[in-house]
């Protein structure tokens, strides 16, 4: 317990945008340095689908996410302990963040009930009673050994209203204390509390205040990647980052899509995770600045260009849209090839943002990004308002002189709907 011992997490702000709340930082963890803002790809069951650890290192991925619920089931805590933790088990030498398992229990198990003790459910296989308590979640996460762990929180659907929201927020605070108490490896692992409070500003503010009284090395913002309206979404993020301390990393859970990442970086978020890039790859979709290409569509059959000429990933260096069109969803290698590209895309986006912040050119980056992303479609109002709130102005909806080669707006709206459905589950 000497003060000369290096803590398992240090964070420093390396640059701040002089206009918005964006910041670039360096987080040093036991297993790796992490440059923020950072996007963490999700390796649910101890692997990113179809990607080798070596490939992730080549892409300069510094941290990934593992799901406690899934790992607790398979391979199970005993095996993980005997393997010496998840890093060793999966052969990933860099940083890992684990969630608490609570969200998956609530979303995957229809029979889950929450009370003060924890999350209860009746196993559909053998009718036995199971419970996930804050203590047990921490116990499992200590065994997994991730660099960053999440508290067990009382998470409610984003569309929930009424006294349940406040109850969940208050309980989350009580549970963080139980988590902190149970945490047996604070020398190696950092526990993040999660700000709840639904879509209610005072509740969110109270939660942030309370959590800031605890000795923690970072904060997460939860309960905000479900079906809520984007107008409420960005406001809650903004409220949280207004009050959270400057000198600790902020992690927005479950976000996401490129435009959302850019806005939330502007609002002062440092860490993100989302299954979207790896999940959409399985359906034959590749991420590009203008959204995503569904490579199964007939129009790509004869396109002999790579997904993205600017992309330096191994997929874009070797393969054409045409070839990927033919193998997408037919040969499982296509899942690997598209996942690699999509992860590369997300990581490149974050790197570009960090560099822009460091050069203090972030507002211009945002303007350029929104122009490339939305092209001739109008920029959604919520994005304008969110960026406005941090003093980034976007030009009036653009008129491009190029031919209108893109799909009409209706189709783009359908694409966005599909995207949302993919992440909601």
């Amino acid at each position: 317990m000497s003060s000369s011992k290096i803590p398992p997490l240090t964070y420093k702000v390396v640059a701040e945008c002089s206009v918005s709340k964006a910041r670039a930082g360096l987080m040093t963890l036991r297993h790796s340095e992490v440059n923020t803002p950072v996007f963490m790809p999700v390796g649910t069951q101890g692997t990113l689908k179809g990607i080798l650890p070596d490939q992730l290192i080549e892409l300069n991925c510094q941290i990934l996410l593992g799901n406690t619920y899934h790992l607790g089931l398979r391979p199970g805590i005993d095996t993980l302990k005997r393997a010496g933790g998840l890093h060793k088990f999966m052969g990933w030498p860099r940083a890992i963040l684990t969630d608490s398992g609570g969200f998956q229990m609530v979303s995957l198990l229809q029979l889950a009930e929450i009370d003060e003790h924890g999350v209860n459910f009746r196993s559909p296989f053998d009718n036995s009673q199971c419970m996930l308590t804050p203590e047990h979640s921490i116990q499992i996460q200590n065994a997994i050994g991730a660099d960053i762990m999440m508290q067990l929180d009382d998470v409610v659907k984003t569309t929930t209203t009424g006294p349940r929201v406040e109850e969940a927020m208050e309980r989350t605070i009580r549970w963080v204390d139980r988590c902190i108490e149970a945490h047996a490896r604070d020398d190696d692992q950092s526990l993040f509390p999660i700000v709840q409070g639904g879509l209610d500003v005072p509740l969110r503010e109270r939660c942030v205040s309370a959590l800031m009284k605890r000795q923690v090395r970072g904060f997460a913002v939860g309960g905000l990647s479900g079906g809520e309206s984007k107008h409420d979404f960005w406001r809650m993020v903004d409220v949280c980052t207004d009050h959270l301390p400057r000198d600790k990393p902020r992690y927005l859970m479950g976000v996401g899509f490129a435009a959302d990442l850019v806005v939330c970086v502007a609002l002062g978020i440092d860490m993100f995770d989302c299954v979207f890039p790896t999940r959409t790859a399985r359906f034959g979709c590749a991420l590009v600045d203008s959204g995503q290409l569904n490579l199964k569509q007939p129009k790509y059959k004869m396109e002999m260009e790579p997904i993205d000429k600017e992309c330096e990933c191994s997929t874009c260096k070797r393969y054409t849209r045409s070839y990927l069109h033919h193998i997408a969803t037919n040969e499982s290698v296509s899942c690997s090839l598209l996942s690699i590209h999509n992860v590369a895309y997300q990581l490149r986006l974050m790197r570009t943002m960090r560099e822009a912040i460091q050069r203090d050119e972030f507002p211009q980056f945002v303007r350029d990004f929104m122009a490339a992303h939305f092209k001739t479609d109008p920029i959604p109002i919520w994005i304008r308002e969110a960026l406005n709130a941090v003093k980034i102005d976007l030009p009036a909806d653009l008129e491009r002189k190029e031919d209108l080669k893109e799909e009409p707006t209706a189709e783009k709206k359908r694409e966005h709907l599909v995207e949302e459905q993919l992440t909601a589950s």
């Binding site: 101890g46 199970g76 088990f89 002999m304």
Partner: protein
């Protein structure tokens, strides 16, 4: 195409140098082609293959049944002179186009009239000789097989066997007439099941042609691809192959696709076969078996496979093989592979394929060394018995285990006290 024999012996196989495309690398035979699906090595992107299996030039085995839909795009691609190997991510590598996927069981039937059934992912299509040559012209492989009916195996009736020879003769009649329209080297098919008379007929049909009509032979009709090839009885297969070899000239390579076991391949090499494919490694990987058979004499007993589905390895934190230098054995454990199997994760087959290809390709290097040193019989003996008192079984049974939830850890339930 150029094929030069370095050495050949009566009963110890032959060493050769094969260059399929002018200006490309020379490949040593006995040669292992990389089987592909849709043009890609199963589960492995080109980058992964080059980083973790081999950086050496390969011969890719393309199959029309998994690539037929690409013909149109390839026609356009080839207008830019870039080559089909480049299209699939392996610029510069040589390639051979076959009809059927040796990794998967080819359904029987559909052998009517003058069409060949082509079983693709979308169902059964029909291929005329004319359409086939159009597709070959679009795809522009370096080498391609003649259109043939190979729908025979050990149990086929004489009638079916004879039909396969007759239909093949008809297809090939057209192809010999049209072959100058494509640049690629033609492989003359030899079919005829296990019937010596039929096989002789089939060979005659080829050798009646001018010698420069084709560059080599492809021997089919012994199995229905997929796992059926791993279950072949050598006492049935080898005599008929020997019967064929006796009637073939020395200076043309002999290609024999299919998931023949390591032991059967050695026997086929002994008889004078030159080119094989990696479908056996695929079948092992698909059924969650890691190849562990030994081809280097170390006095120890060995087993052909490690069964990744076996719960016994759930907590074995050791590699598949302790002295294997492949990525999977260097960086991952049996326990992790078992976990990837249990969770149905894509990384499982990827890691298995890396190991199995590495292992199989090393095996073939050893084969070539043995043929060169004339020690093939000792290698055959080692592979046959693996230093135990009886023959080992290299056949691959399909993995029929279902992953039941009952075998899952209790997860959080363990805390429910």
């Amino acid at each position: 195409m150029k094929f030069a024999l370095e050495s050949f012996s009566k009963n110890s196989g032959r060493l050769g140098q094969l260059r399929i495309r002018d200006g490309a690398s020379e490949q040593k035979t006995p040669l292992l082609m990389q089987t592909t699906k849709g043009g890609s090595i199963p589960w492995l992107g080109a980058d992964v293959f080059e980083s973790h299996v081999s950086q050496k030039p390969q011969v890719l085995e393309f199959t029309l049944s998994t690539m037929d839909q690409m013909a149109e795009a390839l026609a356009q691609w080839n207008n830019q002179d870039r080559g089909v190997s480049d299209y699939v991510g392996f610029p510069g590598h040589q390639n051979v186009l076959l009809l059927r996927d040796p990794c998967e069981n080819t359904p029987s039937g559909g052998n009517d009239r003058d069409v060949l059934p082509l079983f693709t992912r979308r169902g059964r299509g029909s291929l005329t000789a004319e359409r086939y040559m159009e597709m070959v012209a679009s795809i522009q492989p370096d080498m391609y097989q003649g259109l043939c009916d190979a729908d025979t195996n050990a149990g086929s009736s004489n009638k079916r066997v004879q039909k396969s020879v007759d239909r093949t003769e008809k297809f090939m009649h057209y192809i010999y007439g049209e072959k100058n329209k494509v640049k690629a080297t033609l492989l003359a098919p030899i079919v005829g099941g296990y019937n010596t008379f039929a096989r002789t007929q089939s060979i005659k049909h080829a050798r009646e042609q001018p010698s420069d009509s084709y560059g080599g032979y492809i021997l089919e009709g012994f199995h229905s691809n997929g796992l059926t090839a791993t279950a072949l009885v050598p006492t049935q297969l080898l005599p008929i192959v020997e019967h064929c070899v006796k009637q073939l000239e020395e200076d043309k390579p002999r290609i024999i696709p299919g998931a023949y076991t390591p032991l059967t391949k050695l026997e086929l090499i002994r008889l004078g076969m030159d080119v094989f494919d990696t479908s056996y490694a695929y079948c092992a990987s698909y059924n969650f078996k890691a190849l562990t058979f030994s081809f280097v004499q170390d006095g120890g007993e060995h087993v052909p496979f490690l069964d990744i589905t076996d719960d016994a390895i759930k907590e074995e934190f050791t590699p598949i093989m302790s002295h294997c230098s492949c990525l999977t054995c260097q960086k991952h454990t049996r326990a992790y592979l078992h976990h990837l199997y249990k969770t149905n994760e894509l990384l499982g087959p990827i890691l298995l394929m890396v190991h199995n290809l590495h292992h199989y390709m090393s095996f073939f290097e050893t084969i070539r060394e043995s043929v060169a040193k004339d020690t093939l019989p000792q290698l055959i003996e080692l592979v046959r018995n693996q230093n135990s008192s009886s023959q080992v079984d290299y056949s691959i049974a399909p993995n029929t285990k279902t992953i039941t939830k009952a075998s899952m850890s209790k997860g959080f339930a363990a805390a429910a006290v």
